[in-house]
């Protein structure tokens, strides 16, 4: 068993265990952190398969943006702020474990990359292109139709969200920017000319 294979099994096992934790733990914050670990392990597997761009995109988009947003939402659901501060200490052990496993995976990744050789039948290399260029070519040439249909599905998601969430309430106050811009000084301020001092009434 080569070190590469050991790494693959390790990443795979971590991904599977973390995925199991996502659906089995009770605490939503722990579940979200486990999902981060699942994504990260999958990114490592992809790196091992030399799909660098996909792996980096997974970490940046899912771990970096989507999951962090998700964690914020989960933690903020309880708007009472005292438990949120407590959360830091409470979830510290889970966070440390996730971070520790991630660190191990990163170190293994660095180790295994120095041993890896590029396969000779890599279509991207044969065509003299980088990984990312090859991905773009595949996406916009071989998989053009599915790519466009995927865009349509996102459009449907956008359209469907509107009737399901938008409610027209009566009696709410809205702003009309056009009228706000067109407002003139005369509409808002009335300048009143007043004498500097009152005429004193004649003393009785």
């Amino acid at each position: 068993m080569t070190f590469e294979l050991v790494c693959f099994y390790f990443f795979g096992a971590v991904a599977a265990a973390a995925a199991l934790a996502v659906i089995s733990v009770k605490n939503p914050v722990v579940a979200a952190l486990s999902l981060v670990l699942t994504f990260f392990s999958m990114a490592c597997v992809w790196l091992l398969a030399q799909a660098e761009f996909l792996a980096v995109a997974l970490v940046l988009v899912y771990v970096g943006a989507v999951m962090v947003l998700f964690l914020f939402v989960v933690m903020m659901l309880d708007v009472d702020f005292a438990p949120v501060r407590e959360g830091f200490v409470r979830f510290l052990p889970v966070g440390v474990v996730v971070a520790g496993v991630m660190l191990t995976e990163m170190l293994m990744m660095i180790g295994v990359r120095t041993l890896q050789t590029t396969p000779t039948d890599d279509p991207a290399l044969l065509a003299g292109m980088s990984n990312m260029e090859w991905l773009g070519h595949t996406l916009f040439r071989d998989f053009l139709l599915p790519f466009e249909v995927a865009a349509l599905i996102l459009t449907v998601g956008l359209i469907a969200a509107i009737p399901l969430t938008l409610r027209h309430r009566s009696g709410i106050k809205t702003q009309n920017p056009g009228r706000q811009v067109m407002v003139r000084r005369e509409d808002r301020i009335r300048l009143v000319k007043m004498p500097a001092e009152k005429n004193r009434e004649a003393a009785p």
Binding site: R141, D142, L144, L145, V156, A160, P163
Partner: protein
């Protein structure tokens, strides 16, 4: 494998492009319309569907000769043409039958039309799928639009429940399907159905293929609504607004047939020894559960949902032989079922009015005294669903039974006939309630002023009789699509 973009490919998907363009135009036009002008959206949507149907007809290839486009992602053959024509027809009927119902409940919003149009586009892409990924994406386009359509009536708790169930179980089904697809991809190394079919003989690990096949069959059974994967169907049909039930109860059955045909025959035809038996078992379960549970229902929409399950059992009879003649009979069955179900659901939408859903079987009491014409149309639909000669549904049943017997599944055909006879009971109960029970109020039935709907539903009902006598040309068309 990799060819640069070929502009001729655009000609193959011209109908889809036309529909997409029209949908985007309607999306923008609808934004500028006031709620009272929704009729413009209505007729524009129907015009878009008609125009697309025209382009499908114009672009119909020489029926025997299938062409592919976009590197095999898109298939353009006789089967896709027949299915697309009927998908477009059923979607058009769904729009016509739904307008009055939605307007009375103040649900007639532009999104109703847009979601149906997008779902139609998804079905068209699905029946033309040439690879696993385009089949999956077409299916998702259809499914996402359907989930939203079911949830359209936000103030109804039962609608929300139906939508959540539909969404969760639909997502589960998509997951099963996708998992099976990943196994097949892993075993064969390609996503293209034609190449999967070609490489099935020389796969290194046939076990993976069989594993993937089980998941794919389960996913397809979920989408078709075959027992034991039918749990979502009654709740969704009952919970959805009736106008949406008209749509999701008819056209998607054709698309699901297309999905089953493309994946099982187009991709995994070499494993037919395995999947014919699975489908036979699914068929028996569907026939039994559908027909027996339908008897116990008092809600007509729920009863028709169980009847759908039993009809899916019949449809699967066409698949058990894994022969073109059987597929042709199954396609004919899907067309016949969706045309008939459209009448039955459409009639519920027609008789419903503000504050009265008309979805209980009791609500049809004495319909004959109040409106003999529509009672007659409903009776035709019920007889056709039951498979009484000489109606459309009878010949469809006859053809799939013949296909099953030809395939050597005589026992299955006998089971099907027994359950069909049991099924006649609950269809006839509706007829009995309409003709022999006295109405609660003998006043004139208040019918909606929507004349196009009343005309079209009458024509649709009469078509079931006409097609019962003249089913030859339609069956011929199905046969030619399969090259027989």
């Amino acid at each position: 494998m990799t060819t640069p973009f070929n502009p001729a490919d655009l000609l193959a998907i011209l109908p889809e492009l036309v529909l997409l363009g029209a949908t985007c135009a309607i999306l923008l036009i609808d934004l500028f319309l006031k709620p009272g002008q929704r009729d413009i959206t209505h007729w524009l949507s129907i015009a878009a569907l008609a125009m697309t149907a025209y382009f499908v007809w114009r672009g119909a290839p020489d029926l025997r000769q299938a062409t592919t486009a976009f590197n095999g992602m898109f298939l353009h053959d006789g089967i896709s043409v027949v299915l697309k024509q009927f998908v477009l027809l059923m979607s058009g009927l769904g729009l016509l039958y739904g307008r009055n119902y939605m307007r009375e409940r103040k649900l007639l919003i532009g999104e109703f039309y847009l979601l149906i149009l997008f779902a139609t586009l998804g079905m068209m892409l699905l029946v033309s799928a040439g690879s696993l990924i385009s089949a999956y994406l077409g299916l998702e386009l259809l499914a996402l639009s359907s989930y939203a359509l079911v949830a359209l009536n936000r103030d109804s708790a039962i609608s929300a429940e139906a939508a959540i169930k539909y969404f969760v179980l639909g997502a589960l089904a998509s997951g099963l399907l996708l998992y099976g697809m990943s196994m097949v991809y892993g075993a064969t190394g390609t996503l293209e159905l034609a190449r999967i079919s070609a490489s099935i003989g020389q796969v290194e690990h046939p076990g993976w293929l069989a594993f993937g096949l089980v998941f794919i069959v389960a996913g397809i059974a979920f989408k078709l609504g075959a027992a034991p994967f039918h749990m979502w169907l009654p709740d969704v049909y009952q919970g959805a607004p009736t106008s949406v039930t008209v749509f999701i109860g008819s056209a998607p059955k054709l698309a699901a047939f297309g999905l089953a045909y493309r994946l099982l025959e187009g991709g995994l035809g070499g494993l037919s020894g395995h999947w014919t038996l699975m489908l036979a078992i699914l068929s028996v379960f569907s026939l039994a559960i559908g027909n027996l549970f339908a008897i116990a229902q008092s809600n007509l929409k729920r009863m028709l949902a169980y009847s759908t399950i039993s009809h899916v059992g019949f449809l699967l009879l066409g698949f058990v032989g894994a022969m073109p003649a059987g597929y042709s009979a199954a396609m004919f069955y899907a067309i016949s079922y969706s045309l008939t179900a459209a009448v039955a659901f459409g009639m519920i939408a027609l008789l419903a009015r503000t504050g009265f859903e008309c979805e209980e079987i009791e609500d049809f009491k004495g319909l004959n005294q109040r409106s003999p014409w529509y009672a007659g149309i409903m009776a035709i639909a019920m007889f056709s669903l039951a498979g009484v000669p000489p109606l459309f549904g009878f010949f469809a049943k006859l053809l799939v039974l013949k296909a099953a017997i030809d395939a050597g599944f005589l026992w299955l055909a006998i089971v099907a006939i027994v359950f069909a006879i049991i099924g006649i009971y609950y269809y006839l109960r509706v007829v009995k309630v309409m003709y022999f029970d006295t109405a609660g109020d003998a006043t004139e039935l208040p019918l909606p002023a929507d004349l196009p709907m009343r005309w079209v539903i009458s024509l649709n009902g009469l078509a079931l009789i006409v097609l019962g006598f003249a089913w030859g040309p339609l069956f011929d068309w199905c046969n030619r699509a399969f090259g027989i």
